[in-house]
Amino acid sequence: MTNERNIATKIIVKFMFFLMALTLVGIAWTAPAENSYISQAATHRVKEAGVESPVTAVLIHFRGYDTLLEVTVMFLVAIGAMAVGTSKEDHQPSLLIAPDEKLLAKPMIRILLPVMLTVSIYYLWAGAKKAGGAFQAGTILGAMGIMLFLAQKLYAREKESVLWRILLVSGPFTFLTVSFISIFFDNAFLEYPQSINSQLIFIIETMVKISTGAIFCILFTRARSLSFLEKTQ
């Protein structure tokens, strides 16, 4: 008898969600067709921001505050993952590639690594003009790190290491300090002085890239720190 009831409830639930989708579509239908006027403003004033692609301009200049908080969120999750962490033996999940798999590990690393490095640097540099930027570059760095970890070139350590902590915190830290210091050059918070605008952005972008990469590695391995040397403990 129970499964009739289950099926009945399932049908009701599905019907409810269908109703909800219907109303949401109804609402969305009434949305006005033309773009809101501030999006046009954004595209016009992108020149002032010193960055070509409007998206990056919005991301860094107009709504830089959101990006700052976003970077902090990434960093917080890293802290959370490290704190939660897993017990020691889980750091060698079964999916690790066995070291003697000559066929696959070595050539893969030898070829892919430089390619991934150049692509990430390209992304970083392209950010100003086309879509791209610190996060995309950072993800690629992270992917590199995970690959090394899987190929057992990089080992997860439980030991606290100041280097990794600084690495993790460098991105948000520099973003914050740079935008904070700009106050003393009588600009608003997060407003970079015109003269050295692009250089500053570049510094921030690189630091954020590096720490994003490190965050992704930590997130995947949930270790305290990673190192290339095969340490016993």
Binding site: S36, I38, F62, R63, Y65, V73, L76, G80, V162
Partner: protein
């Protein structure tokens, strides 16, 4: 354009990053320095607001429609000051709590940066006047609170934090959908602009509905309360104090802010009555469940569920007299102080016993004397005995309920306070029993732990006396209209 507005966000964030970098070498000196500087930044802003009224700050120099603005008026100021004081005291408490509870270093390294990040997230939430930015700050809140719950390294705790994460993020995403509707409809994300532009239309109704559900889920009102008790009771005591007192008040602040700005003229009494009704159920259900618990922290958690019910009682009452919101704020603050004191006392008790079952409190443990006194003092505020913040709320709910002929709420308040008497007395009763203890080992509850809890409890108790000054502070920039 004074930069004092951004300090409350930046300084705690800086401290978070520094402390994270310091790792194991964090000691009392650093803690004091960072927490005092964060508190100082907020007080500096308070001093500015008092002198020059509500402040608006364009981040990165761009105007409102394009960039993000920070807006600070009496309402946000009161919240920031209240939360900062609580943060400061809980940080002090937690320092000696970890030591006496011998928590692993790993926990401390994660706890302090998360707390400071949460502090800056809360300040950012109170200051921001951009609805998408509010989404991001809500996420900051969630993503700092969830790992903190998981800190106590027990399966139940991690499960509770996961459940908390899923519910909270669902809420945020629904809120984000509401933001999308508003942005599509009126093209701007800034609250002050939206208040002028938003007109009653299916888009705004949909946005209101979605946002309300999102924020209710995060404030743990009745239907969405189930994640709160396990999360707040499993978490270590300072964390559950922060969660119960502060984190759930963030979304509530946003609701009040929207109710008085964006949705001012498109809300309808039906919604207010619905929220009030849910609040009433929360009061009765939470208090009833609290009475049934035999674990102290679960009891306090369910009492939070009940007190949140009170907060939502203000919606139907505020239909046509909006200055009742000031009372809601004071009530929420009083609850924050009282609830944090209660959880800190629970922490004290957990330092002595490994489990916090109530029945074992039978004999009045010599070390628990002051803790029971603090519990009593904070309990008075929860019960709404005169001159506590709770009483202020109770009095004005009754007053407005009678003037606006909404008799139903009076009944709810009566039953609620009766039940609250019952579950507070359930604990106080044990503080006088006679069983003698011969405890030789050093008293794990240090003076600082007792003092911070006492400070929190006494603030909540005598809040009735400086109620008028709080009202005066709130009314800067008249958030609730003349």
């Amino acid at each position: 354009m004074s930069h004092s507005m951004i300090f409350p966000v930046v300084v705690p964030l800086f401290s978070a990053f520094f402390i994270f970098a310091l790792g194991n070498k964090v000691n009392l000196l650093f803690l004091l320095f960072f927490s005092l500087s964060s508190l100082g930044s907020v007080l500096f802003l308070l001093q500015n607001t008092l002198s020059s009224g509500p402040l608006k700050y364009h981040i990165a120099g761009w105007g409102a429609p394009l960039g993000i603005d920070l807006y600070n008026d009496g309402l946000s100021m009161v919240w920031m000051v209240g939360t900062s004081v609580i943060f400061f005291l809980i940080l002090l408490y937690s320092h000696s709590y970890w030591k006496s509870k011998e928590y692993p270093q790993k926990i401390k390294n994660a706890f302090y940066p998360l707390v400071f990040a949460l502090w800056s997230g809360m300040n950012a939430l109170f200051l921001s006047s951009d609805i998408f930015n509010l989404y991001v700050t809500l996420e900051v809140l969630t993503l700092t609170a969830v790992p903190m719950v998981a800190l106590s390294n027990k399966k139940a705790a991690v499960l509770a934090s996961l459940r908390y994460l899923i519910i909270a993020v669902t809420g945020s995403l629904l809120y984000l959908l509401g933001v999308a509707f508003l942005y599509v409809g009126w093209g701007t994300l800034d609250i002050s602009l939206l208040t002028k532009l938003v007109t009653p239309s299916p888009l705004s109704w949909g946005a209101l509905a979605l946002m309300t559900i999102g924020l209710i889920a995060k404030t743990a009102l009745f239907p969405f309360y189930f994640w709160l008790p396990p999360a707040h009771s499993q978490a270590p005591s300072p964390v559950s104090a922060i969660l119960s007192a502060l984190v759930i008040k963030g979304p509530y602040y946003i609701l009040i802010r929207f109710w008085n700005t964006i949705f001012l003229n498109i809300q309808n009494p039906m919604i207010d009555y619905l929220l009030g009704f849910l609040g009433a159920i929360a009061i009765l259900w939470g208090a009833f469940q609290a009475l049934r618990q035999d674990r102290l922290k679960l009891l306090i958690a369910y009492s939070t569920v009940a007190q949140i019910g009170y907060l939502f009682l203000f919606f139907p009452l505020a239909i046509n007299n909006r200055n009742i919101w000031e009372i809601a704020i004071v009530f929420a603050l009083a609850h924050a102080f009282a609830k944090s004191a209660l959880f800190l006392v629970a922490g004290n008790i957990l330092c002595l016993y490994e489990k916090d079952t109530i029945s074992q409190l039978e004999g009045s443990h010599p070390y628990l004397g002051p803790s029971f006194f603090i519990f009593g003092l904070a309990g008075l505020s929860i019960m709404g005995i005169p001159f506590s913040g709770g009483f202020v709320g109770k009095w004005n709910i009754l007053y407005t309920a009678i003037t606006t002929q909404q008799i139903g709420w009076i009944l709810v308040v009566i039953l609620g306070s009766l039940l609250s008497y019952a579950y507070i007395l359930k604990i106080i009763k044990y503080s006088f029993s006679q069983k003698q203890w011969q405890e030789k080992k050093k008293n794990p509850i240090t003076f600082s732990m007792n003092f911070t809890a006492l400070l929190l409890a006494s603030i909540s108790f005598i809040m009735g006396f400086f109620f008028l000054s709080i009202i005066h502070l709130i009314s800067i920039g008249s958030p609730f209209g003349e």
